[in-house]
Symmetry: C2
Subunit: 352 residues, 2 copies
């Protein structure tokens, strides 16, 4: 019996609703694959927890999580708690402290769905964004000065280490080398972000010499435009923390919306648990109505299976999602239908 | 006779080709509007100039430009010269030293064109991006340290002053207040860029209390996605230097491409000359072939007319462009046609 322990953090808003469905899929994995067991443990760390306890997780929260093989994360955020609190005290510490330096975000138009891009189809929209996940623009360094004067200013320091840049760029090259196009697209802005980005480009150049992979460097402004005009060019895209954040939401919009796209926060060395979550947030506006699309969260279980080196299971999940989208009438409101979160979850499970 | 002096910097690549057409349009303005004269002076500052002289413009370049009312700029950049040189020694000094703190970038689907967004039409795509143009992520502050060691790192300081943020946010509110939707959308990322962006949001809040304008704050990742899914929501968008750069290229892609969209680098106080340019670059791949689309550059003349307080003339130009797109078969290759830069320029002039 192969046993994995899964820490589950449903979070706020629609988080618990979609996590619920993805847990059914996790169970289904056990049924499909004899000799596999997922032991889940739920953690109630979210904004209500914060309002009660003055913190997003207990002091030893990270230690508690660390004992698990993987983390399943819903979404966190509530109008009653400042965004930066929920983010900086829960999700970002997990990403940073567990060295989940790869944020993997597939951009793939599923069978049964239409892209909002008029002339783009399934062959055109199938790539993956490899986002740096621990430093760069999210370095938590800076401050205010001359407060209360007309000369007041804020400084935000973006810190790009060689160590942090090399490891994500290597990861991206390795991934590109394994795929068929053998092409890596690099997001940069070295014409304007004049210290960090030339440094990043230089490391790309150094690392790239070791791979038989074509390298394309695009400035982030042009690259965002190419997501609309020529997405078919892309295979693997590597980007800094902020650029990867923007590109992956944009990519999600081109394949049908934020309700669909998953993400894996990966520590490739498996020294620490990796974390799987949708790229969408807690969506307070539709929370509690049972109408959120659980596909992004369920797809994140597929990334979890890949990470646990059971890609056959990962594929099974994506296929099940596509079966439902293509061959049934079940659609949540974001896809123009009237079905519930649960309807969608159950339909996917029944296809597995 | 009202006389304006126009400094013309055609630049590199397709720059001179498209500037050529826009100068015809400038002439046409004189014909239409009796008693109006544009005296142009050309400056050959570009990458060839750099390769000869070791600098992008003469030491007193800014002084030379300063005597003019406005600047017409093509595009700069050549594979033989590092990007950051051409940019940091020509275009960015002009923007910064002439306090062109507003970068105005309309995103508007012209009559006769189809959006690559399947379900979006002309009513849905008509807004303007107001980009901060002097500081923020383009502050030229930072450096490398621990060079040659495994601990090497680059720091890039993003500097947001109260002075710089207030003036752009006020400008955006004023613009929004004059338009019919009375809505300002603000790009932020205060949940992760944790010093600069909360500061920016705070200034938005302070300034906003003085206006009868609805304020929407969106994180840049979500906002980029909304450019695809709900552009009809937008009227005026205010964004930092980098965010505005990304959003305006993305916006251009949704209305037919970089060949179409203009930009005005505005010093609203008219203490210094303002500068008008396409948002596209020098496009070395198609330079010299006479096939570049001159519309972006010509449209920038329209923004120039607005700035010189002749909005009727500005409108005339946009109408002429739309007439050609809607009622003639003239199309440059980027629009799927076979016409030349000159064909397009002449056709537009003949409609004025
Ligand atoms: C050339 C480059 C520095 C510039 C910018 O980023 O501002 C360009 O992309 C633009 O948008 O005008
Ligand atoms: C919540 C926020 C800080 C986060 C990010 O920017 O990383 C989110 O947008 C994401 O993409 O996971």
């Amino acid at each position: 019996m192969k046993t994995y322990s899964v820490a589950v953090i449903p979070g706020d808003g629609i988080g618990p609703e979609v996590v619920n469905e993805s847990l059914k899929v996790l169970k289904a994995m056990e049924d499909v694959h004899g000799g596999l067991k997922f032991v889940t443990k739920e953690f109630d760390w979210n904004c209500s927890y914060y309002l009660k306890n003055g913190r997003m997780m207990p002091e030893n929260g990270l230690e508690q999580l660390r004992e698990h093989d993987v983390i399943l994360f819903g979404a966190v955020g509530d109008p009653a708690v400042p965004d930066h609190v929920s983010v900086w005290e829960l999700i970002l510490p997990i990403r940073k402290q567990f060295e989940q330096y790869v944020n993997l975000r597939p951009v793939k138009l599923l069978r049964g769905l239409e892209s909002p891009l008029r002339y783009k189809s399934h062959q055109d929209l199938d790539f993956v964004v490899v986002r740096e996940n621990t430093e760069g623009e999210y370095s938590n360094s800076g401050g205010l000065t001359h407060e209360g004067t007309p000369y007041e200013l804020a400084v935000q320091n973006n810190i790009f280490t060689r160590y942090g840049s090399e490891r994500i760029i290597k990861y991206a090259y390795n991934l590109a080398a394994k795929r068929s196009k053998k092409r890596l697209t690099v997001a940069t802005k070295s014409n304007a972000i004049n210290y960090a980005m030339p440094f990043w480009d230089e490391i790309v150049k150094e690392v790239g010499t070791n791979y038989n992979v074509e390298t394309q460097l695009y400035h982030i402004d042009a690259l965002a435009a190419y997501f609309i005009s020529r997405p078919e060019e892309f295979d693997v895209i590597v980007a800094s923390n902020l650029f990867g954040d923007i590109l992956s939401d944009l990519g999600a919009a081109t394949v049908g919306g934020l309700g669909l796209t998953p993400s894996g926060n990966i520590n490739p060395e498996k020294k620490y648990p990796s974390m799987f979550e949708p790229i969408h947030g807690s969506a307070p506006d539709i929370a509690g109505k049972g109408i959120a699309n659980p596909i992004a969260q369920i797809w994140s279980i597929s990334l979890m299976m890949d990470h646990l080196q059971m890609p056959e299971l990962g594929e099974l999940i994506v296929n099940a999602i596509e079966e439902v989208l293509e061959n049934t009438a079940i659609k949540t409101p974001d896809l123009g239908g009237k079905n519930s979160t649960e309807d969608m979850g159950n339909a996917i499970v029944s296809q597995i």
